[in-house]
Symmetry: C2
Subunit: 331 residues, 2 copies
């Protein structure tokens, strides 16, 4: 009973993130942390970008997925895995499953970016499309998993997933330590909160004074509202967002207490601010960022976060954006 | 006399490149060397991309320019500098001049990419536009330099410029050494040959068996032809290329002997192959590459270079491409 309680309070430890780092070493991309002249000038500070758009499958999700799947035993591996995702978790699970020889079934919304659906299929996964507005992906996924006896790989509410994403925090701290820098703030795109919870645990262990922010689209700022209220709030949004990867209606059961306990705050951005960030990344940074991944840069450019004389880190979480949308952004 | 002869045979030494590395340390971006799952799968080898599109001004040219300008004495700095360039050298000189408080005048073709002209102006340089087909940029530049008593900063035929670009070779070797890898081949985009000559000196010092290739657009393959003939050939191209940065009609007086003595070979690619590479970089790598910078990737994707079971390095030399052209490439 005591052990269970400790687990619920502390489902992921710093040690779990170090273990995840060992599992993904030499397999995941050790993504670069870069600075840019224009961005430093504009912000009157130093801004470091952690380029997870250069990760396998073009998004950080590979880390958590590989950490989860590589920890499965032989029996579980033979039964296969099932996951649901708007796209990046889908690709992450598909790529990790292919590397480990595991069969994967992925439930994706039929309006997910074409690139994400195609890439998931290209890794050999079975893709099951559903209607985001009339069907429940959890129900479909649970049904398929029960039929196959397969393991469900949740997108964020899982200790292995959180620990895998947390390796990003370890790498940020390692690279900044070489430069003799402690980060004042880290801006993390947030859907269910797996990435943010993992990064928070990893960073706060060695730099307790660093402020962590979640970044969300204004229409889906459930985490910002939940953190302010001190409890989980579930939204029923009446508008949509171009940030297809960040449209969770509430933070996770495991992820929220972690973020809340560590003093994480929320920032939200508009679609127009996100488009401006994608355009800036094209012109000045020479990288492709998808809408959800550009939310931190959007906040910086819109002056929603103090950067003057500070060291700020942006987690650029992914780069999977369909050409028609990208072309529109850089017009 | 003997010293002069030694200089002409050996205008740039490995030591000069180490000195350049000290000068630019902490000022130029230490650009990442990345791998990609799709590219390794496709090539059946390991391909490493040196991302100089993430360098200041979006191109490697900053390195040579800063190395040249920071070596000027006080009198020369006060007189200012003059340079001519289709765009990336222009921006490199303008950015380095701004950092060092030097006045810069840049002669640019009026049909250079808009982004490159605007960025050069944004760094505070005086931009003088000329007609690429009816005027001589050398004459205009020499005239302005004589009037002002300013120092001419050549785009490639200068020992400091070559040594500055050579720092890319040092960084590639350092990063590969950490991985325990010797490169079998390095593919370097080539206009006048400053980048290739510098990289060749840096790499061959510690890895003499690495094969270096120059990459050129098919209509401007003067270096490929010169290296095959054993002497400098000047082309009078009757067609154009989308590779605006690689349209020199002949390799340099200083750069050619270096490349030739070290056994460099030439590869050329078509505009369509370059466009396919830009599209691939968008979809799979999540980075923006300009046409000239994408020539190495174009050669790999078009199977013009053996990659199976080999370690191949691509120098991604720049990312300054106008939106209308980029939009066309990813359509």
């Amino acid at each position: 009973m005591k052990r269970f309680q400790v687990y619920m309070e502390n489902p992921v430890s710093y040690r779990d993130i170090l273990d995840a780092a060992s599992r993904i070493e030499g397999i995941a991309v050790r993504t670069p942390l870069i600075e840019n002249l224009y961005l430093n000038d504009f912000t009157e500070g130093r801004v470091f970008l952690k380029l997870e758009n250069l990760q396998h499958v073009g998004a950080f999700k590979f880390r958590g997925a590989y950490n989860r799947l590589s920890a499965l035993d032989t029996t579980a591996r033979q039964a296969g895995v099932v996951a649901w995702s708007s796209g990046n978790h889908a690709q992450g699970v598909a790529a990790a499953a292919k590397m480990l020889g595991i069969e994967a079934t992925i439930i994706m919304p039929e309006d997910a970016p074409y690139m994400k659906i195609e890439n998931t299929r290209a890794f050999g996964a079975h893709v099951h499309l559903y209607n985001r507005y009339t069907e429940s992906r959890e129900e479909i996924g649970t049904h398929i998993a029960a039929e196959k006896g397969a393991v469900i790989v949740p997108p964020f509410d899982d200790p292995y997933i959180i620990a895998g994403q947390g390796t990003i925090g370890l790498e940020i701290m390692a690279d900044l330590t070489v430069l003799g820098i402690k980060p004042d703030a880290i801006l993390v795109p947030c859907s269910g909160g797996g990435l943010c919870a993992g990064v928070t645990i990893a960073v706060k262990e060695t730099s307790p004074n660093t402020q962590i922010y979640t970044l969300e689209p204004a229409a889906y700022n459930d985490t910002e509202q939940s953190l302010a209220a001190g409890h989980r709030i579930k939204l029923t949004p009446d508008s949509t967002s171009i940030c297809d990867a960040l449209m969770a209606p509430s933070p996770g059961e495991l992820t929220f207490p972690i973020m809340h306990a560590k003093g994480v705050s929320g920032i939200s951005v508009t679609d127009d601010e996100v488009k401006a960030a994608i355009r800036f990344a094209y012109q000045a940074l020479k990288i492709i960022i998808e809408p959800g991944g550009a939310t931190g840069l959007a906040a910086i450019l819109a002056k929603k976060c103090t950067t003057q004389n500070k060291n700020t880190v942006l987690v650029i979480s992914g780069g999977n954006i369909d050409p028609h949308q990208f072309r529109e952004c850089i017009r």
